[in-house]
């Protein structure tokens, strides 16, 4: 059965149809790409999936559970994690604190134990610190743990966003342009990393990306969006040779 099933999903902003009649099915463990020209509605799809927007029509079923109309924090606790296209870190907090906040929904002590400093506060904090450092280590950020997030270079901020999303322990991870602003070498490393975290954390990944070598290299299935509609979906090879996709997005000489 599909992990994520989207049926005839639509979203209108007073007359403008940002997404219309979107159908999508993602199986567990798949690495899926979502591509399309600017303004095609890709980020709107992410915002619908994560509860930031309420769909005008259609249903989103995740893990057999209906997700429509759930608030973003509930979507997150149901196991959908995300990163943002325009980086949204907790700027004035340290790198470590950023990850700890994402880990908060798994915290083992309650508010009162925190205020009274009961033994389980110290136990919970120690566990949180250890787990958070593990996530930072994966992204090679453990040396920067005490730096403020806003002082990190751009590429590291992108990696911190992914580390933070992973700390919510998702089963589906949505990555919004993870390679934006990275050089080819960094993009290549990121590609390896995405594959590795998928296997290591037993994840399903849906990513938006404009970097075609990355998308074609890493994704097993690709959806192409144009004017809010899916104009094609299939394996990277099918997409590369699809005339509609070439016309709408890839261009004649692409790849």
């Amino acid at each position: 059965m599909a992990l994520l099933k989207v049926e005839s999903l639509s979203k209108s902003f007073s007359g403008l149809k940002a997404v219309s009649n979107l159908d999508m099915e993602i199986n567990k463990g798949q690495l899926v790409g979502l591509i399309g020209p600017n303004g095609a509605g890709k980020t709107t799809v992410f915002n619908l999936l994560t509860g930031v927007y309420v769909p005008t029509e259609g249903t989103i079923t995740f893990n057999g559970k209906k997700m429509n109309g759930l608030q973003p924090y509930k979507v997150s606790s149901n196991g959908i994690g995300r990163t943002f296209q325009n980086i949204r870190l907790f700027d004035d907090l340290t790198v470590l604190e950023n990850v700890k906040i994402a880990y908060h929904q798994h915290v083992s002590y309650n508010t009162l134990s925190g205020i009274l400093r009961l033994p389980n506060y110290f136990k919970g904090e120690a566990e949180m610190e250890e787990k958070s450092m593990q996530f930072l280590k994966i992204f090679d950020l453990d040396k920067n743990a005490d730096e403020l997030a806003k002082n990190l270079p751009y590429g590291q901020q992108r990696r911190l966003e992914i580390a933070r999303a992973l700390a919510t322990k998702p089963s589906l991870l949505l990555l919004d342009e993870p390679a934006a602003g990275m050089n080819p070498q960094e993009t290549h490393n990121l590609m390896e990393l995405i594959r590795w975290i998928r296997d290591e954390f037993d994840l399903t990944i849906l990513l938006i990306e404009h970097d075609m070598p990355l998308v074609m290299g890493v994704c097993e299935h690709i959806y192409v969006l144009d004017y809010g509609m899916v104009i094609a979906h299939g394996t990277p090879d099918e997409i590369k040779n699809n005339p509609r996709v070439i016309e709408a997005y890839l261009g004649e000489e692409a790849i």
Partner: protein
């Protein structure tokens, strides 16, 4: 546990010294009643500033209704003490709880608003609280209510210490970090699984409860309370202390409250220039240190830790 490390022991010791010194100087007559009142007011304002800071500095919600919660705490504790002949501690706890409940009640609808809209809504609600007490003849109405003076330096000082300890413990827990994440980026906080409404209301309610406690201390120290004391100017005064000390810094809020209260007491002999001096000071501060005295940093007492860096822990 790690509660009794060297650093905390030294801080506790210095608190006892400060407390003992003031008590001693008062007993032998060096400190007169006026200075004593100033010091007790410093304690009250520290509680108010630190709790306002939890709402505005840490959770990032610009709410300007603190005088309203202070009024609720003051009147409710006075009611227990005067009308029901209850004990002081019962009155203080009752006042704080009712103020906290009022915080939840007011917070649920208003915290959906952002920025200046929230400021205006809470300002209005603070005034409504005052007007309710103004028209409540049972509690004295406009003429005010006399309350026996039962608060002394011991009560004020240790209640202040406990309040600051509880609020800073909250901030330094995972739940407090959830509040801070709302200030930093509400959309990201929500996407990381933080129930932003819950934590906003929680911060608001805790802040309101401590404002209520401060109000209770005030009522049981001042002999007399009346609604005009709790006008919106009081709310602004508290907000100014927080901004002066530095939004998002507990030690900053303490310094801000102390500087403002002692400053106005020193200028009490020159009422005509008092507000002028304070205004000029504030303008100068905003020009030269726009983030307040402490910014969002804390005054850390790490020099008290003689161990190597890396095995310190902040449990103050």
């Amino acid at each position: 546990m790690k509660l009794l490390n060297k650093k905390n022991a030294i801080i506790l010791l210095s608190l006892i010294v400060v407390y003992g010194l003031v008590q001693f100087l008062f007993n032998n007559g060096t400190l007169n009643q006026f200075y004593m009142m100033t010091l007790i007011l410093v304690c009250i304002y520290i509680i108010l500033a630190v709790s306002q800071n939890l709402i505005t500095g840490f959770t990032g919600q610009l709410a300007i209704g603190h005088a309203g919660f202070m009024a609720i705490g003051a009147y409710m504790s006075a009611m227990i003490v005067v009308k029901f002949q209850g004990s002081l501690i019962l009155g203080l706890i009752f006042g704080a709880i009712i103020a906290g409940l009022a915080g939840i009640l007011i917070g649920l609808p208003t915290l959906r608003l952002r920025g200046d809209y929230l400021a205006i809504a809470t300002l209005g609600l603070g005034e409504i609280v005052r007007i309710v007490f103004l028209n409540m003849d049972y509690l004295g109405g406009a003429t005010g209510l006399s309350v026996p003076k039962t608060i002394d330096w011991t009560w004020a000082f240790w209640l202040m210490v406990i309040s600051v300890l509880i609020i800073s413990n909250f901030i330094n827990s995972s739940h407090g970090r959830a509040c801070i994440s709302i200030r930093e980026n509400e959309i990201a906080a929500e996407a990381m699984g933080i129930n932003t409404t819950k934590y906003k209301v929680m911060a608001f309610a805790i802040g309101a409860a401590f404002a209520g406690l401060a109000g209770g201390i005030y009522a049981n120290y001042m002999y007399f309370i009346q609604p005009t004391t709790f006008s919106f100017l009081k709310s602004f005064e508290i907000l100014v202390m927080v901004v002066l000390g530095g939004l998002g810094s507990t030690t900053g809020a303490i310094i801000g409250a102390a500087v403002m209260t002692i400053g106005s007491a020193l200028l009490a002999d020159y009422p005509e220039i008092r507000m002028l001096v304070i205004a000029v000071l504030l303008i100068a501060l905003m020009i030269f240190r726009p983030n307040g005295i402490m910014g969002n940093k804390e005054l850390k007492f790490n020099f008290l830790n003689f161990k190597k860096k890396g095995d310190e822990n902040g449990t103050t």
